[in-house]
């Protein structure tokens, strides 16, 4: 299902008909903040909508609908900050409980609903530069919301449909092979951390390339090193606007020094239009 339609189905009735009118603007995100009008991101910026302000019951309703009346399913994911529901990624913000009981929030005060649709072929030209006699270990870079996950899916699919065996560690179900096509030669392991997932794939599925989203924690870099040591190709994403930005953070600096990755694919957002540039690392 189209992500915009999926998002509309979660919305309280008072917002639906106005939000429906945004469909031709192809919004990338819907923002709902307690006490404020809803807002939509398109054309590279956020636009407030002329609608009644959001209240806490609206946010709770959206989460109830997203979880099919089963908030407990989202509890663990919400403690990490977001919940994936089909083609939607719902970021959650609010007053965190001290003991992180339940969903981890005493009250939810805002939601950021990221709309992901399949954009086939956006990375076709770039993907051609990532594979010659073998796959160049590649890091996809952009700031949050820049389109890394969409680009990652496209590259996975392109490589996989070209005959490369891909193993994907989909820790929080965001890559979502049930909603998006990840190619004919792709095996997906989900619901587990990146290190365990990578080890399982290496032991059982003989991947030529392992792909994962968002290397952001020390245990993620440990997974990357383990894969690197096994001679399997690596494809991953990181929050950074550029290689210089990447090098400012310690966990990435070590990976750069060790030359784990030899290529970057940086995503630039020019007023809502994305541009993909391949760069070399440690030449």
């Amino acid at each position: 299902m189209n992500s915009f339609r999926a998002a509309l189905e979660l919305m309280p009735g008072k917002y639906r008909s106005e939000l429906q009118k945004l469909s031709d603007k192809h919004p990338e995100e819907l923002r709902l903040r307690c006490g404020r009008e809803p807002a939509a991101s398109y054309g590279g910026r956020e636009h407030a909508l002329r609608l009644p302000p959001v209240d806490e019951s609206d946010l709770r309703l959206i989460l109830e609908r997203a979880t099919e009346g089963s908030l407990y399913r989202a509890a663990e994911a919400m403690r990490q900050g977001y919940y994936c529901c089909g083609p939607l990624r719902i970021g959650v913000c609010g007053a965190v409980t001290a003991n992180r009981a339940g969903g981890g929030y005493r009250c939810v005060t805002s939601l950021a609903i990221r709309l992901s649709d399949e954009h086939r072929g956006v990375c076709e030209k770039a993907a051609g530069e990532l594979y010659q006699s073998g796959f160049y270990n590649t890091l996809l870079l952009s700031p949050p919301g820049g389109g890394k996950t969409t680009a990652l899916r496209d590259i996975i699919r392109l490589l996989s449909d070209g005959g490369t065996r891909l193993g994907v560690v989909d820790e929080r179900g965001e890559l979502s092979d049930r909603v998006f096509s990840l190619g004919r030669c792709t095996d997906v392991i989900s619901g587990t951390d990146k290190l365990s997932g990578a080890m399982l794939l290496l032991r059982s599925m003989n991947p030529q390339v392992i792909a994962m989203d968002e290397i952001s924690a020390p245990q993620d870099t440990e997974a990357v090193r383990k894969i690197f040591g096994c001679g399997t190709g690596l494809l991953a994403t990181a929050h950074a606007a550029s290689v210089e930005d990447l090098a400012r953070r310690e966990i990435y600096r070590e990976l750069l020094t060790e030359r784990v990755f030899t290529r970057t694919l940086t995503i630039y957002n020019d007023g809502g239009v994305r541009r993909y540039e391949v760069g070399r690392l440690g030449a």
Partner: protein
């Protein structure tokens, strides 16, 4: 004619007694089916953290018609969350499907709708477990009452029938 009339009265009293016994037996059977459905919900939540929608959908295929109807009503309400609270849908479904049963456990069962679907999994599992144990106890009591009263009920009904025949003759 007199004998035909007497026979009819005796048969009628026997039939009334049998209907009453059958009702008691069905009540025990419904309690047991309901208890099993709560155990199924408890396992679904504790072992697999399945969504209520998926669990309700499976329970719409059970053998007991009243329990099937109950979970069908709940399953149909999931896409309309927000138009009406889940708690009030649950209470209405309890009244619709089990309103004719003895009420001792119904209030507790109706209150379960206030717990289910929330973010605290342990609370829900505990509530399901407690209620399923209570329903099992009531189903056992109901079955025991049925087997203890079966012969006396039939005997008394036939005796009353015979008494009516004697009075009328």
């Amino acid at each position: 004619m007199k004998w035909i009339g007497a026979l009819a009265i005796l048969l009628a009293s026997g039939l009334v007694a049998l209907i009453r016994l059958r009702w008691q037996r069905e009540e025990a059977s419904r309690l047991r089916s309901l208890m099993q459905s709560l155990r199924f919900l408890e396992r679904g939540l504790s072992e697999r953290q399945e969504s209520l929608a998926d669990l309700f959908r499976t329970l719409t295929e059970g053998t007991c018609p009243a329990v099937r109807t109950f979970y069908s009503q709940l399953f149909d309400s999931i896409p309309r969350l927000g138009e009406e609270s889940f708690s009030s849908v649950w209470r209405r479904a309890v009244q619709n499907c089990f309103g004719d049963m003895q009420s001792g456990w119904r209030a507790q069962f109706a209150a379960l709708g206030d717990e289910l679907g929330g973010s605290e999994l342990d609370t829900q599992i505990r509530a399901l477990r407690g209620l399923s144990e209570e329903l099992e106890r009531r189903a056992d009591e109901s079955e025991q009452r049925w087997s203890e009263r079966r012969k006396p009920t039939l005997g008394i009904a036939l005796a009353l029938g015979a008494f009516v025949v004697i009075l009328l003759s």
